[in-house]
């Protein structure tokens, strides 16, 4: 938590239910203006006071302890995100003691993410770990006998969040942002040293145009990875395909480590696709089980196969299963030739226990039933989705709108600095821009103190009489 956030009255939001697939998710908002800010996204429906967008009174007028039914829409475009129920609480009589609300939405990570993003765009700040509880304490709302609990909550969540942030790809983001921050800190030191040591014979040029350009590009590059980050956050789509009875559902269950899909020796057991999120090598994968290919097929099966094709088109990687006991047939060959040049295809030789035939070249042998070979298979999958790069060397990718906004703030400030420098704006004022850029980056990786600036000055400039 940024220390100064402890004294803020601004509006905050966070997911209150666990992250992941579930029936219902709860997103909490709190802050003096939280209800009016939320009302920009929320449109009441019948039963909560009127019909459509006309009759229903805005959230701002809702009484405490009431539930409002409606939809969350993208302001402007009007796109509907989800149907929700909003529980309204009024200052003094809420968990935090401030105006607040709980949004009950569908528990899909994609929807949760969209709603949170909209809230950030509406001006909500992502709550620091434990901040709701802290506000509750500060507003005298919680009669907790042990302050210890606060620290535990705050720290446990921070540490968990930090650990989570450090894992996966975020480790490399942090390194990247840190390197940009150090770069900008160096420029700030170069500005400050010229201010505090006016009589030193320092070079005229504070920082080269090339260097500024470099840091600006780095920031721009990072901001632009946001789209990729989002996919990563939601999971990279990977599809299981193949003829009926090839063992797709069996493999699906094996990856998910649970009995999600029905498995049977009947051909065409799976009629419609199923999805589940699994983590492979710390990368979230959204795995699809699909209806198998079959010839001939009746209309219901045809519909299922159509859906399979749609999922295949939307996926990054196809895992195509062949039953080793039956071997490759015409249908499989047709599929392979249609996807001949595809780099996104992994052929899988399943049921190796049932066949004496050696695994053909270009196939990956597994036993979906026992799980034999699937650890190797996950490694191959990870390698494919990362495009051959290792996790370590993968380009950093940002995955939250909060990070994106902070990076954009830093970028804006750096650009202001560049313009100011070319227009000969005085150094003390330019320092404000650089400080702003550092503050924004510092919110991601930890703040920059004046001592850091001085250390930078004294380690790089020979100054002083």
């Amino acid at each position: 938590m940024q220390k100064e956030n402890l004294y803020n009255q601004d509006s905050i939001t966070a997911l209150a239910s666990p992250w992941g697939e579930s029936a219902v998710a709860i997103i909490r908002v709190s802050g003096r203006d939280s209800l009016s800010m939320l009302s920009g996204l929320f449109e009441g429906r019948a039963g909560s006071g009127g019909r459509g967008n006309s009759g229903s009174p805005p959230l701002t007028e809702a009484k405490g302890f009431t539930m409002k039914h409606g939809v969350i829409r993208v302001p402007g475009s009007g796109e509907e995100i989800d149907e929700v129920v909003v529980a309204v609480y009024r200052a003094g009589r809420s968990y935090t003691g401030e105006n607040s609300a709980e949004i009950f939405c569908h528990g899909s990570p994609a929807i949760i993410k969209r709603i949170l993003d909209l809230l950030y765009e509406a001006g909500f700040r992502h709550a620091d770990p434990g901040e709701f509880t802290l506000r509750a304490f500060l507003n005298g709302k919680l009669d907790l006998t042990q302050a210890e609990a606060v620290n535990e909550i705050v720290r446990a969540k921070t540490d968990r969040a930090r650990a989570a942030a450090l894992s996966r790809l975020s480790g490399s983001i942090e390194r990247k942002i840190r390197s940009i921050k150090d770069g900008i800190l160096k420029i700030l030191a170069a500005v400050e040293v010229r201010i505090d040591y006016p009589e030193e014979d320092l070079e005229e040029e504070i920082v080269s145009e090339r260097e500024l350009e470099h840091w600006q590009e780095e920031l721009e590059k990072l901001v632009s990875t946001y789209g990729i980050g989002k996919i990563l956050q939601e999971g990279i789509p990977v599809v299981l395909a193949g003829r009926t009875n090839a063992g797709k559902s069996t493999l699906f269950n094996q990856f998910l480590k649970e009995d999600r899909a029905i498995v049977s020796e009947i051909h065409g057991t799976t009629r419609d696709y199923l999805e589940g999120v699994v983590s492979m090598g710390d990368i979230p994968i959204k795995l699809y089980d699909t209806a198998g290919y079959k010839m001939p097929a009746h209309s219901l099966e045809k519909e299922g196969m159509k859906r399979t094709d749609r999922i295949i088109r939307a996926s990054r990687l196809i895992l195509y299963l062949v039953d080793a006991s039956t071997g490759v047939n015409e249908l499989d060959r047709e599929f392979f030739s249609a996807n001949q040049n595809s780099k996104t295809l992994i052929r899988i030789w399943n049921k190796i226990d049932l066949s004496k035939r050696p695994c053909p070249v270009g196939f990956f042998p597994v036993n979906a039933k026992t799980g034999e070979g699937i650890i190797k298979l996950s490694e191959v999958i990870v390698e494919r989705v990362l495009g051959g790069r290792s996790l370590e060397s993968a380009e950093p990718i940002i995955d939250s709108i909060r990070q994106k906004k902070l990076l954009e703030r830093a970028l804006g400030a750096l650009k202001d600095f560049r313009t100011g420098l070319s227009e000969n704006i005085p150094l003390d004022v330019l320092g404000v821009d650089l400080k702003e850029a550092l503050d924004a980056l510092g919110e991601i990786t930890g703040e920059v103190t004046s001592q850091d600036i001085l250390n930078e000055i004294f380690s790089h400039f020979c100054v002083g009489k």
Binding site: G130, D196, D201, C462
Partner: protein, 616 residues
């Protein structure tokens, strides 16, 4: 009690302290080792500079003496950073060293309620059960009692100076160290450490070939440091300084002899300032730099001694002479006094409250270099504040603590008592988060009223301030109402693009200056120059200042959440062990201060807030 207050030491901190207390009608005694050394400028003969110039003007606004002393003894004046922005412009003056010290002594001698006495303090008289100070004991066995004592011992406590292989007990070359008091402080239980600083050689002016150097003249216009002196009222001579550079040969000589340096040879244990490195440090740490600047500064009008700024050194004297003579213009140089390093006791300033009173002994205040700072201005600012708070202590009033958002003095003292220091501390503009609002020209607006309510500013000064405020408002009003017309564009083509907008708006254009607008609007011409200048800066940077003010608001909220001084951190469950130890050591008086302590985490602040809220 013999006196209300005793000030130990007649350096820059001691001078301000003694004057404040005596001016507030407290019977005051200043004890210092040598009356002839009062107000000595131990190192460079200059007052002011970046951030330090702001300090001097803040001292003046509060009713201190330093600005007045330098106004009357300067021999060159310059505004630094004119082109680098208003917030970081700073006045600096070369001082006539001897004159400065003489004047300081004379002002003290003339003060009512103030006695001066030459002796060395070696111990304290205390009421240990009450934990209160009662007086001091001197080397010659004299005992003086008082209700409050201000310690300003500078570089003298258990001090040792070093020149190459030579070292001796001394606080300044030729002056004995103050022995005894350091030991007494340790015995009481204070955390006492060692710091080091150095000074360059002084040379005979006629032995230099100044014509081989660059001349650096002062500004023609002198802006007085003191708000009580009006522009144009300072009538002082202006003598130039000279600039020359070290050579590769200089660096070779230093490198060849580095083993003879007490610093590199390990004799000096104290930590020196990175911002004021000795020439041996510069050469060793930055081997790629092939020259370093040397400023030749006159030490006064009545002396031929010059100060060689930029090459402080503690190498042996023969080496100093040799490397100096390798510098263009110094080939025939005659050294009058060698450069040297001094190592001395300092008290870790986290042992102080923001009032500069020690946490350990009531009524004992510490100021100046003893708190780990370096610099005349830093010392004077602390001396002033310590004495103001000693006066509050005597009057039973709450202390005056300036915030980081209202004065450089606030930044200085908050840094010291909150963060402590491991090297001699010097103020930099970059230490001040809100420096755009801490300009030197606004020090009176920020602080004079405070000086007045303490009783250190006369009514006349306050009236002048009110007049200035009004004058400034009038100018701003005028600029807001007056629109740019065709005819203005004819006089000043730059104004054409601001046609129809107000002058105030036009002034935000970096190309447009007040001095130009004066030509267009006769009414402006009648206003005081200082006021016009100030309005110009206020308006030009309005946007930035406003941005900063928002941060200040947030900062204030944190500062306003007070922590009682007797807050029992051992009873708070939930603090991390590290935070608990730090809180106990620093004893922060506000949540803001607590949050600035290094190593304290947000979760600790959260816990603290909970306890404060619940009033435990």
């Amino acid at each position: 009690m013999d006196f209300d207050a005793i000030v130990i030491g007649g350096g820059h901190a001691g001078i301000e302290a003694a004057l404040v207390l005596s001016r507030l009608d407290f019977s005051t005694l200043m004890i210092t080792q040598n009356l002839d050394c009062i107000g000595k400028l131990s190192c460079n003969p200059a007052i002011g500079g970046l951030a330090k110039g702001n300090l001097v003007r803040e001292i003046d606004a509060l009713g201190g003496e330093m600005a007045k002393l330098i106004d009357r003894t300067m021999i060159q004046f310059r505004i630094l950073n004119r082109s680098k922005g208003p917030a970081v412009q700073a006045p600096r003056a070369q001082a006539d060293k001897a004159l400065y010290a003489l004047l300081a002594k004379h002002v003290l001698e003339q003060a009512d309620n103030l006695e001066m006495f030459q002796d060395t303090v070696v111990d304290f008289i205390r009421d240990s059960s009450a934990g209160e100070i009662r007086g001091v004991i001197t080397e010659r066995g004299r005992r003086f009692t008082a209700r409050t004592v201000i310690l300003t011992t500078g570089t003298f406590l258990e001090a040792k100076i070093f020149i190459g292989e030579y070292s001796t007990s001394s606080g300044r070359l030729g002056e004995p160290a103050a022995i005894g008091l350091g030991k007494a402080l340790r015995k009481i239980g204070f955390d006492v450490g060692r710091l080091k600083t150095g000074t360059p050689a002084r040379a005979l002016r006629s032995s230099l070939r100044l014509e081989r150097m660059e001349e650096q003249a002062g500004d023609t216009e002198i802006l007085p440091f003191s708000f009580s002196n009006s522009m144009g009222s300072i009538d002082r001579p202006s003598v130039p300084c000279y600039i020359t550079y070290t050579t590769k040969e200089t660096h070779r000589i230093i490198r060849d002899n580095i083993h003879r340096s007490p610093l590199y040879g390990g004799k000096i244990k104290g930590i020196g300032p990175r911002y004021c490195p000795s020439i041996e440090d510069k050469v060793m740490r930055f081997p790629d730099k092939d020259r370093h600047q040397i400023f030749v500064e006159p030490e006064g009008l009545s002396t031929e001694e010059v100060y060689l700024n930029g090459i402080s050194s503690s190498l042996p004297e023969d080496v100093q002479e040799k490397f100096l003579r390798s510098v263009p213009g110094l080939e025939k140089l005659v050294i009058l006094r060698p450069g040297y390093a001094v190592e001395y006791d300092f008290l870790n300033p986290t042992q102080l409250y923001p009032s500069l009173e020690t946490k350990r002994i009531k009524g004992l205040f510490i100021a100046g270099q003893t708190n780990g700072t370096s610099g005349y201005e830093e010392a004077a600012a602390q001396g002033l504040m310590a004495a103001i708070n000693a006066a509050c202590f005597l009057q039973g009033k709450p202390p005056l603590v300036l915030s980081r958002a209202e004065a450089y003095i606030g930044v200085l003292i908050d840094d010291l008592v909150t963060l402590g220091t491991k090297e001699p501390y010097r103020l930099f503009t970059s230490r001040a988060e809100y420096r755009l609002s801490l300009r030197h020209d606004t020090a009176d607006i920020r602080l004079l009223e405070k000086g007045y309510s303490i009783g250190l500013q006369k009514d006349k000064a306050r009236q002048a301030l009110l007049a200035k405020r009004e004058g400034i408002d009038e100018i701003k009003e005028l600029l807001r109402k007056r629109n740019v017309q065709e005819i203005d564009g004819d006089i000043l083509p730059l104004l054409q693009k601001h046609l129809g907008r107000s002058f105030a708006h036009a002034l935000k254009d970096p190309q447009v200056h007040m001095r130009d607008l004066i030509f267009c609007e006769g009414k402006l011409n009648k206003k005081k120059r200082e006021w016009l200048d100030q309005v110009e800066l206020d308006l030009k940077y309005e946007g930035y200042i406003r941005r900063q003010e928002k941060q200040v608001d947030r900062f204030k909220k944190m500062e306003d959440m007070k922590i009682p001084p007797d807050f029992d951190y051992d009873r708070t469950v939930g603090l991390s062990t590290e935070a608990r130890e730090k809180f106990k050591k620093v004893n922060p008086l506000s949540v803001g201060q607590a949050a600035r302590i290094s190593g304290v985490r947000s979760s600790d602040i959260a816990v603290l807030l909970v306890y404060l809220k619940r009033g435990i």
